[in-house]
């Protein structure tokens, strides 16, 4: 079936299978492979994208459901090797190891800080609760988020 979606500012039309999930469409059709598949059960958050301004676990959405909607991915129209301040903070703090969870984490941090520019540790934890990381023990992820928060607030 034909659907039309706006991905990182560009409108595209895809002929998707009714059973196809949004993560598969983004990865296979848009060839945006920053978002990953870790579980397909809405548990790990590796597939986190933004849909109409809200973060979603795209393994548990059908591509067909995104018809007419706006999607943003971790790549979000940046020219390589450009990254944003959140990604820079993850790089500097070693907020990653294998990197598999990182794009999903970054998406969640973007939304968290957009909604709450000065989150406490507890609020950071709640905001990132839907993103699992198996490598870092979250120690350096927390450090990275605190660092962006403080830098943005000029602290």
């Amino acid at each position: 079936m034909l659907i039309s979606v706006e991905v990182n500012g560009e409108v595209v039309t895809w002929d998707v299978d009714p059973r196809e999930t949004l993560i598969d469409a983004i990865r296979e059709r848009a060839r945006l492979t920053g978002a990953h598949v870790g579980c397909r059960s809405a548990s790990c958050g590796a597939c986190t994208l933004s849909l109409d301004g809200l973060t979603v676990k795209s393994c548990c959405l059908l591509a067909a459901e995104a018809d007419g909607r706006t999607i943003r991915t971790v790549e979000d129209g940046r020219t390589p090797p450009e990254v944003d301040d959140i990604q820079e903070a993850f790089i500097a703090a070693q907020g990653m190891q294998c990197g598999y969870c990182t794009p999903g984490m970054v998406m969640s941090v973007r939304h968290l800080l957009a909604q709450n520019p000065d989150p406490s540790d507890d609020e950071i934890r709640r905001g990132l609760a839907g993103n699992l990381c198996r490598c870092t023990g979250y120690v350096n992820i927390l450090k990275a988020v605190r660092a962006v928060r403080d830098a943005r607030l000029g602290r």
Partner: protein, 795 residues
């Protein structure tokens, strides 16, 4: 410029953060097909028939494979390799089940189709008729006389029966009065490594030149190549294995998996690339588990806490057999007892039994974490029974630094250590001495705080006899005509950051500019033979071999530069990609020397010099003995890192909920090449240790049906469960590696289990609770309190 010891962020961070890293599922060769595996829903059943027609008939399906086809094509795995102290029972393994299935999730058939959706639908359409058999749900049932046989050609379900003895533990126990003895049962939960990226492979057979290229999410490309070549009878030289970025491994991606063989076979049959990407539910049932072990122990001790005898019966449920080699972890658990402690009379008997649970696969800790849990719980039990401090009992029994190398009862040789040192340092870090006052104050407020310690021994660099996973690795260092340095290593990095550490070592040894050193790994076509990444070996082996190769290049650069500068080699100073004569103050850059060598091979500075600016060297570690000596010594672990962990917990008795307030670990891994990355590894290992202690358990029911099929049930700790981790370092350099480096990748995974158990016991001392079964879920802690209450203890 000193690079070694510098905290430098990982070299792959930028591409990972950008979402631009390439994992196996991000690779799409033209015309690539997708494979899905049909798996057994039964724990134990005979396969009556496999009807593939409905799968075949679907539009877009290219191939349906069955066990019979693969068997008839001569594809089977014959376990090989000799072992020193024990002989396992073996059986031929089929990568797709033939005749019967032995665990839920076992591959039965495979479907190759144009895309993921079609392949999954076709896999569902394959009809397998089963005749269910009674299933063995756990090891104790498997040991009973008359139990169902998982391997019908064996007389019973015991795969390995491995006794270890020193002195006469029975006699000492018999001669010790009851006040000097204690006993108990400890249970270590079945867990799964669960890297966030599942397993996966793409095989691309080229029928014209009869070559095959595989991209695999593996820890050891060369090893995978050798094993695949043997399984498929495919020339090893025509097979290339490439490791793209790997989304975590932790032992779980040490080759080889049945699906690797099936995918490669399918590609060869179709002459097209075929991709298999594991799904999480497949991983949790069939990707391999570990740790499922129990220990029945008896110990004798003196009033001062010295342990005089230890008798332990270990029972490992290694599940059904597969192509995985995880069952060897049970051997390591047994061989690492008593580990850090001197016990003169030891009797250990390990029985590893097969059952209808899933097979074992390597996981960080590799059995050492089980040994640590058992030993540390035993030490706490002795402390309790003797009425002594938990720290005092450890101090009393530790191998003292003057006793190294120390031969374990298993014959393994512990190289070095200062266990008291890490114990005291962690006590300081956690605030051990001040804690009782805090605890009493909290108690008066109705809060239950507890403190605990757990010591771990993490022998690393596993070097098994007659195996491709061994105590050596190789590296090539080369310099281009314009002076850039390339390092090719046989070790790989699944996110551990060793590419960064190896670059630091090479830059340092070569006197090169770090930015001009590139490290390439994970491609059998370019990298020299190597064992890959496992057993925390990558920096010790990969770094040491790269150093050896770098020194060859450095020597040549110095000779030529000396001639160019008219200076003695001894007069030269090499740093920052530049060679300088101290006497004249004149210098040449590496670029200039490289140009001299490449461009003027017949010039006046090159007389008698072989112009190759490329060297391959292998590092083979000492302190490994693969033949037993007259004292029964043999050793597969050259370096023995160790740590002591300590934690403070708060327990809520009404719910049994355990909250970790702080976790401290003092670690000794010799010289640290990159503290930022080493600490990051420790954070991850500690969190995995905490996960297995509080949240994670692969559960089977009595009929061996998995009860934890998704991450909603097999619950990994999230950021809300993350804890305040404090690290301390000490350094007892290894005498056997470059600069005394030891591994760091596994350290920190073992201490949390016993430390948390110890802290819970301490918090609930009023109740006399003893946590003996991992994980310490709220339900288990609560049940232990209820048992204590009904015995009249507490409150």
């Amino acid at each position: 410029m000193t690079y070694v010891g510098a905290s430098i962020p990982g070299r792959n961070n930028r591409r990972s953060a950008a979402g631009a890293a390439t994992y196996v599922d991000d690779i799409r060769p033209d015309g690539c097909l997708v494979m899905a595996v049909v798996r057994s829903p039964h724990a134990h059943a005979r396969i009556r028939s496999v009807d593939t027609s409905a799968g075949h008939d679907l539009d877009g399906v290219a191939l349906v494979l069955t066990g019979e086809e693969l068997r008839d094509a001569g594809i089977a795995i014959h376990p090989s390799g000799t072992n020193v102290n024990f002989t396992p029972r073996t059986a031929v393994r089929h990568v797709l089940a033939v005749d019967k299935v032995r665990y839920v999730g076992e591959p039965v058939a495979a479907v190759v189709a144009r895309d993921y959706v079609t392949a999954r639908a076709a896999a569902q359409a394959v009809l397998v008729a089963y005749e269910t058999l009674p299933a063995l749900g756990d090891a104790r049932a498997a040991l009973k006389p008359g139990a169902v046989l998982v391997e019908e050609s064996w007389p019973d379900n015991v795969m390995v029966d491995y006794p270890i003895a020193r002195g006469d533990a029975d006699a000492v126990l018999a001669a010790t009065p009851p006040s000097g003895r204690t006993s108990g049962t400890l249970v270590c939960n079945r867990v799964a490594a669960t890297p966030l990226e599942g397993r996966g492979i793409i095989a691309d057979y080229n029928p014209y030149d009869e070559t095959m290229t595989c991209w695999a999410s593996t820890q050891a490309p060369h090893v995978l190549r050798a094993l695949l070549s043997a399984a498929l009878s495919f020339p090893e030289g025509n097979l290339r294995v490439i490791q793209p970025q790997v989304g975590g491994a932790f032992g779980g991606k040490i080759p080889m998996f049945p699906e690797d063989v099936i995918t490669a076979y399918a590609s060869r049959r179709l002459g097209r690339p075929v991709k298999w990407i594991e799904q999480r539910d497949e991983y949790l049932s069939a990707g391999g588990h570990s740790r499922d072990m129990r220990c029945d122990y008896e110990v004798a001790f003196e009033p001062d806490g010295r342990i005089t005898a230890l008798k332990a019966g270990l029972l490992a449920d290694v599940g059904a057999q597969s192509t995985f080699l995880g069952w060897l972890m049970a051997i390591v658990s047994a061989a690492c007892m008593p580990g850090s402690y001197v016990v003169d009379h030891v009797s250990i008997r390990l029985r590893a039994v097969v059952s209808n649970r899933g097979p074992w696969q390597a996981y960080r800790g590799y059995g050492k974490e089980v040994a640590a849990f058992f030993m540390e719980r035993i030490l706490d039990d002795v402390a309790r029974a003797a009425g002594l401090g938990r720290d005092a009992v450890r101090t009393r029994n530790f191998i003292s630094p003057s006793h190294f190398p120390f031969v374990q009862p298993s014959g393994w040789v512990t190289d070095s250590g200062d266990y008291q040192g890490t114990l005291e340092a962690v006590q300081e870090l956690i605030g051990w001495d001040d804690f009782p006052a805090r605890q009493a104050a909290a108690r008066a407020d109705g809060r239950y705080l507890g403190i605990g310690i757990g010591h771990e021994l993490t022998p690393e660099g596993s070097s098994r006899p007659d195996a491709l996973l061994n105590g050596t690795d190789s590296a090539t260092v080369k310099m281009t005509p314009r002076g850039d340095v390339t390092v090719l290593t046989g070790v790989t990095s699944p996110g551990s950051g060793n590419e960064t550490g190896i670059a630091q070592i090479v830059a340092e040894c070569l006197g090169a500019d770090l930015d001009r050193v590139r490290v390439l790994q994970g491609d059998t076509q370019s990298a020299p033979h190597g064992n890959g990444n496992y057993s925390s070996r990558s920096l010790t082996f990969g770094g040491s071999s790269a150093r050896l190769a770098a020194l060859v290049i450095r020597e040549k650069l110095e000779i030529v530069a000396g001639r160019m500068l008219n200076a003695d080699r001894a007069d030269l100073e090499v740093t920052g990609h530049r060679i300088r004569s101290r006497a004249s103050g004149q210098s040449v850059t590496f670029d200039e020397v490289a140009a001299e060598i490449y461009r003027k091979p017949h010039g006046r500075h090159m007389a008698g010099i072989d112009p190759a600016l490329e060297a391959t060297r292998a590092f083979k570690i000492d302190n490994v003995y693969h033949r037993k000596d007259e004292d029964g010594r043999y050793n597969q672990y050259p370096t023995w890192s160790f740590s002591t962990g300590a934690c403070i917990v708060e327990v809520t008795p009404e719910t049994g909920d355990v909250r970790i307030e702080k976790f401290a670990l003092v670690h000794d891994c010799g010289v640290v090449v990159n503290p930022l990355l080493a600490e990051a590894q420790l954070h991850g290992a500690i969190m995995q240790g905490i996960g297995a202690s509080l949240y994670e358990e692969i559960v089977y029911d009595d009929d061996a049906i998995p009860q934890t099929p998704t991450l909603r049930e097999y619950t990994l700790p999230g950021i809300r469960e993350s804890v305040d981790i404090v690290l301390g370092h000490r350094s007892t350099p290894s005498p056997f590696t470059f600069m005394g480096m030891k591994g760091v990748g596994e350290s920190g995974i073992s201490a949390p289990g016993p430390a948390i158990a110890s802290a819970i016991d301490d918090a609930l001392a009023d109740f006399g609770v003893r946590m003996t079964t991992m994980p310490f879920t709220p339900a288990r802690v609560w049940a232990a309190i209820q048992t204590a209450r009904s015995a009249g203890r507490g409150e």
